[in-house]
C-alpha cells in the first residue's frame, strides 16, 4: 500500500516543455541557398571550424567558398584552399542546401553571420563552433553532459590556446586523467569537446610530448579522419 497518493494537478492538459534554446532553420527544402558567413583573421586560422566544415559536408550538400576581404593584402595560398577543391556543381548555387562562406578579413575575433534579420552575429571561435556543431547533432540532452562539453570547450579556447605554459601543462594533465576513465572527453561518444581540444593541442605544437592517454586519444581522433584539414594547415 503506497504511503500517500498525490492527486493529479492539471488533469489531461498536455504540457509542451521547451527542449531547445532556439529553433534552427530546416535545410531540407531546396530553393534559395542558406549561407553561413564566417569572417576570420588569416593570422589565427580557426582550426575547429575547418574540422566542423568537413563534418558538415558529410551531412549536407554544402557549397564552400573562400574569399579575401579588401582589408587584408597577403593571404598564404594554403588558406585559400583550406576548404578543399571547388565543387563541380558550384556554378549552380540553388542545388546546395547550405553555404559555407569563409572570408579572410582583418577582424579581432572570429565572427559568424547567418540570418541577419533574425540573429545577431556570433563572435569567438568557441561560440561559432557550438552553433555549427548543433547543425550536426544535438547537444547531449543530459544537462550535466552538455555542461561538461561546454566546460572542455572553454578550457580548450581559454587555457590551452591562450594560456601560459603552466596552464597548458595543467590542462594536459586534466585531459590525461579524463581520458583514463573514458575513450572520449565527454564520455562514450565523440563530441565537440574532442574536436576543440584536439585542435588546440595540435596548435600548441607539443602533440608529441603529451601524456600517454592523450597520445592514444590523438591517434583515435586521427583514425576518425575528420582532422585532415586542420593538420594540413599546420604543416
Amino acid at each position: 500500500m503506497p504511503m500517500y497518493q498525490v492527486k493529479p494537478v492539471s488533469g489531461d492538459m498536455e504540457v509542451d516543455l521547451p527542449t531547445c534554446m532556439y529553433k534552427l532553420p530546416s535545410f531540407h527544402d531546396l530553393g534559395a541557398l542558406r549561407d553561413i558567413v564566417i569572417n576570420a583573421n588569416p593570422a589565427q586560422p580557426p582550426l575547429t571550424l575547418l574540422v566542423l566544415h568537413s563534418l558538415l559536408c558529410q551531412r549536407y550538400r554544402v557549397l564552400s567558398t573562400v574569399h579575401v576581404h579588401s582589408s587584408v593584402t597577403d593571404v598564404p595560398p594554403q588558406l585559400l584552399s583550406c576548404l578543399g577543391p571547388r565543387h563541380a556543381d558550384s556554378y549552380a548555387r540553388h542545388m546546395f542546401q547550405l553555404g559555407f562562406t569563409l572570408i579572410w578579413k582583418d577582424v579581432p575575433k572570429v565572427q559568424m553571420k547567418f540570418s541577419v534579420q533574425n540573429m545577431c552575429p556570433i563572435e569567438g571561435e568557441a561560440n561559432v563552433a557550438r552553433f555549427l556543431f548543433k547543425l550536426l547533432a544535438p547537444y547531449p540532452s543530459d544537462p550535466a553532459a552538455a555542461t561538461l562539453v561546454d566546460s572542455w570547450l572553454d578550457t580548450a579556447f581559454f587555457q590551452l590556446a591562450e594560456g601560459s605554459a603552466k596552464e597548458r601543462a595543467a590542462v594536459l594533465r586534466a585531459l590525461n586523467s579524463a581520458l583514463g576513465r573514458n575513450p572520449w572527453l565527454s564520455g562514450p561518444e565523440f563530441s565537440l569537446a574532442d574536436v576543440a581540444c584536439y585542435c588546440c593541442v595540435l596548435q600548441t605544437g607539443s602533440a608529441a610530448s603529451t601524456p600517454a592517454n592523450v597520445q592514444r586519444w590523438i591517434k583515435s581522433c586521427d583514425n576518425l579522419g575528420h582532422f585532415g584539414p586542420a593538420k594540413r594547415l599546420l604543416q
Partner: protein
C-alpha cells in the same frame, strides 16, 4: 556795351580762365611726372617685377622650371624659377604673403622689402589678381614651424623676381576656397559654398580645385587599369561606330541625327558591334568610347552622354567564365585604386567624406532567387519574376553589405522576362536567363549576359519581343556563318568613379556633363 562786345568780353574772360586752367593742369602734370621719375629712380627693383609681354614664343629660354610638388627641404637655399597660379596674395606692412598653386600642390611665398625687393615691388605683388599665372625666381628656405595650410609644409619661397605671364580678371565667377568647402562646414560657419550648377557653368575654374584634380586623376587611373588588366588577359581593344542605322537597345531613348538625305542614330551601346567582332574571331575584345542615351531622366546618376567601358568574349562551356573574367578585372581595378591612389581618395574625402570601398576576392556571386529571399526576409513583397526596383536594389545592397561586408557583388540568373531579346535563356528553367547585374554600393553598374549566338533562336526571341526583324537583319546575319558562344557586359566610367568614391552625383565625375538640361560647356 553791345552784344558782340559783351560776347567778346566773355570770350576774353573765358580765354583768360582756360589759359589759367591749362597752366594749372600743366603744372600739376609736371609735378606728377617729376614725382614718378623720382620714384622710378628710387625703385631699385623695377627690373625685377612687372607684367611680362604676352608669350608669343619670342625667344626660346632654356630655363628649368621647378614643380611645386618638388619643393622640399632638399632644395633648401637653392635659387629656382617656377610658374604657378596665385592662389591668394595678402600684403602685411612691408611684406606680401602669396600662396602659389599648381594642381593639387601649393606653397607659401614671401615678397619682403629688402635688398632684393622694393616697396613698389611688394605693392605690385599684393595687387596681382587671384588665379593669374606668374613666373617667380625665388630661393627655397626651410621653415621651423610647419605651414599647415599648404601641401608643401616644410619650405617657403623668398621671391627675388616676379612677373605676370597671364593676368586673370579681378572678378572671378566663383572662389576656389568656396568650391572646395564641405557642405556642412559652409552652413555651420556661414561661409559660402558653391552650388553644382554654378560649378558646372564655370567648369574651367571649378576643375582647378584640389578635389576636381583628384577625382579626374583617379578616373584616368580607372581607365588605365581597365585597359592594362584586359590587355594582360589577352583582350584586343576595338573602336566601334557611333553613327548607326538602327537603335540597338530599344527605340525610345535614342538620338536621331540627320544623315545627308536620310537620318541615322547615335549608338546607345557598342553591343551589336562587339558581338560582330566575336563572330569575326577576335575572341576577346573591349572598347572605350562614348555612349548616347536620350533618356529624359534628371537623376543623380543619369547622363545623356557618358563613357562606356565594354567587354565581350567568347567562352568555352559556361558563361561563368565571362563573369569570372569581368569580376576579376573589376577587382584588379579596385586593388589598383586602393594601392596607388590613396592621396586622391583622401583629397576627395576631405570635401566629400565617405566610407572606404570594400570588396571580396573572388567577387561574391549570389543568385537572383537568393536576393529575392533576402528581400522577402526583410519584409519586401515581390514576385519571383519581378525586376528589382531601384529602392529594392539599394536595400539588397545594404543587406549584402551587412552580411558579407562588401560594396561590390554580382546577382546572377535574372528572370528572362525582364532582359533584352538577345539574352540566352536558362537551359533548365525557362523562367530564368543566363544574365547578371553587378552592383557597387547598392547601385547597378553593369548589365550583362550570355548572348544568343544562334540565328534561329535569335529570330524567335526577337519576334517574341515584337521587334521589326528588318531593322536587325544585319545583326542576325552575323550569326549565320558559325558563331562562338559568347557573353559580356559594359560599365559607365563616370558612375563607377562616383560609386567608388562614395559621391552622390554623377556630374561630379563627368568633366563636362551632358544631361537633358545641359549642353554646354
Amino acid at each position: 556795351m553791345t552784344k558782340e562786345a559783351v560776347q567778346g568780353a566773355t570770350e576774353e574772360e573765358q580765354q583768360a580762365q582756360s589759359k589759367k586752367a591749362l597752366k594749372k593742369q600743366q603744372k600739376e602734370a609736371e609735378k606728377a611726372a617729376k614725382k614718378a621719375e623720382k620714384q622710378a629712380k628710387l625703385d631699385f627693383a623695377k627690373d625685377r617685377y612687372g607684367v611680362s609681354a604676352m608669350v608669343q614664343s619670342q625667344q626660346k629660354l632654356d630655363r628649368e622650371l621647378v614643380r611645386v610638388q618638388d619643393l622640399t627641404p632638399e632644395k633648401a637655399d637653392q635659387l629656382i624659377w617656377l610658374r604657378a597660379r596665385v592662389h591668394t596674395s595678402r600684403a602685411k606692412g612691408k611684406q606680401c604673403f602669396l600662396v602659389l598653386r599648381q594642381q593639387q600642390f601649393n606653397v607659401q611665398a614671401l615678397v619682403a622689402v629688402g635688398d632684393r625687393a622694393s616697396k613698389q615691388m611688394v605693392k605690385f605683388a599684393a595687387n596681382i589678381t587671384k588665379e593669374s599665372i606668374i613666373d617667380v625666381e625665388a630661393s627655397v628656405r626651410k621653415v621651423e614651424q610647419k605651414i599647415e595650410s599648404c601641401s608643401q609644409q616644410d619650405v617657403e619661397l623668398h621671391v627675388e623676381r616676379i612677373f605676370v605671364i597671364s593676368q586673370a580678371e579681378p572678378r572671378l565667377p566663383l572662389q576656389l576656397e568656396d568650391a572646395v568647402r564641405p557642405d556642412g562646414e559652409g552652413e555651420e560657419e556661414g561661409r559660402a559654398t558653391v552650388n553644382q550648377d554654378t560649378k558646372l557653368d564655370n567648369r574651367v575654374i571649378d576643375l582647378r580645385t584640389t578635389t576636381s584634380q583628384a577625382i579626374f586623376r583617379l578616373q584616368s587611373g580607372v581607365c588605365q587599369l581597365f585597359r592594362d588588366t584586359l590587355t594582360q588577359k589577352g583582350f584586343v581593344e576595338i573602336q566601334t561606330p557611333k553613327i548607326i542605322s538602327a537603335a540597338s537597345e530599344g527605340g525610345a531613348n535614342v538620338f536621331t541625327v540627320s544623315y545627308f538625305k536620310t537620318s541615322a542614330y547615335l549608338a546607345q551601346s557598342p553591343q551589336l558591334y562587339k558581338q560582330m567582332c566575336i563572330c569575326a574571331d577576335f575572341d576577346k575584345v573591349f572598347c572605350v568610347g562614348p555612349v548616347f542615351r536620350a533618356e529624359d531622366s534628371n537623376t543623380h546618376r543619369h547622363l545623356t552622354e557618358f563613357v562606356g567601358l565594354d567587354i565581350e568574349m567568347a567562352f568555352n562551356y559556361h558563361y561563368h567564365e565571362v563573369i569570372d573574367s569581368i569580376t576579376d578585372t573589376m577587382v584588379q581595378i579596385f586593388k589598383g585604386l586602393r594601392d596607388n591612389f590613396q592621396t586622391e581618395i583622401q583629397t576627395v574625402n576631405k570635401q566629400f567624406p565617405s566610407e572606404p570601398f570594400k570588396f571580396l576576392e573572388p567577387t561574391l556571386r549570389l543568385e537572383y532567387t537568393e536576393g529575392v529571399a533576402m528581400l522577402r526576409e526583410a519584409g519586401v513583397e515581390m514576385g519571383d519574376e519581378d525586376d528589382l526596383s531601384t529602392p529594392n536594389e539599394k536595400l539588397l545592397g545594404r543587406l549584402v553589405k551587412e552580411k558579407y561586408d562588401t560594396d561590390f557583388y554580382v546577382l546572377d540568373k535574372y528572370p528572362l522576362a525582364v532582359r533584352p531579346f538577345y539574352t540566352m535563356p536558362d537551359p533548365n528553367n525557362a523562367k530564368y536567363s543566363n544574365s547578371y547585374d553587378m552592383f557597387m554600393r547598392g547601385e547597378e553598374i553593369l548589365s550583362g549576359a550570355q548572348r544568343i549566338h544562334d540565328a534561329q533562336l535569335l529570330t524567335e526571341r526577337a519576334t517574341h519581343h515584337q521587334i521589326d526583324l528588318e531593322k536587325i537583319k544585319s545583326y542576325i546575319d552575323s550569326f549565320r556563318f558559325g558563331a562562338p558562344p559568347h557573353g559580356g557586359g559594359g560599365i559607365g566610367l563616370e558612375r563607377v568613379c562616383m560609386l567608388y568614391l562614395g559621391l552622390h552625383n554623377v556630374r561630379q565625375t563627368s568633366m563636362f556633363p551632358r544631361d537633358p538640361k545641359r549642353l554646354t560647356p
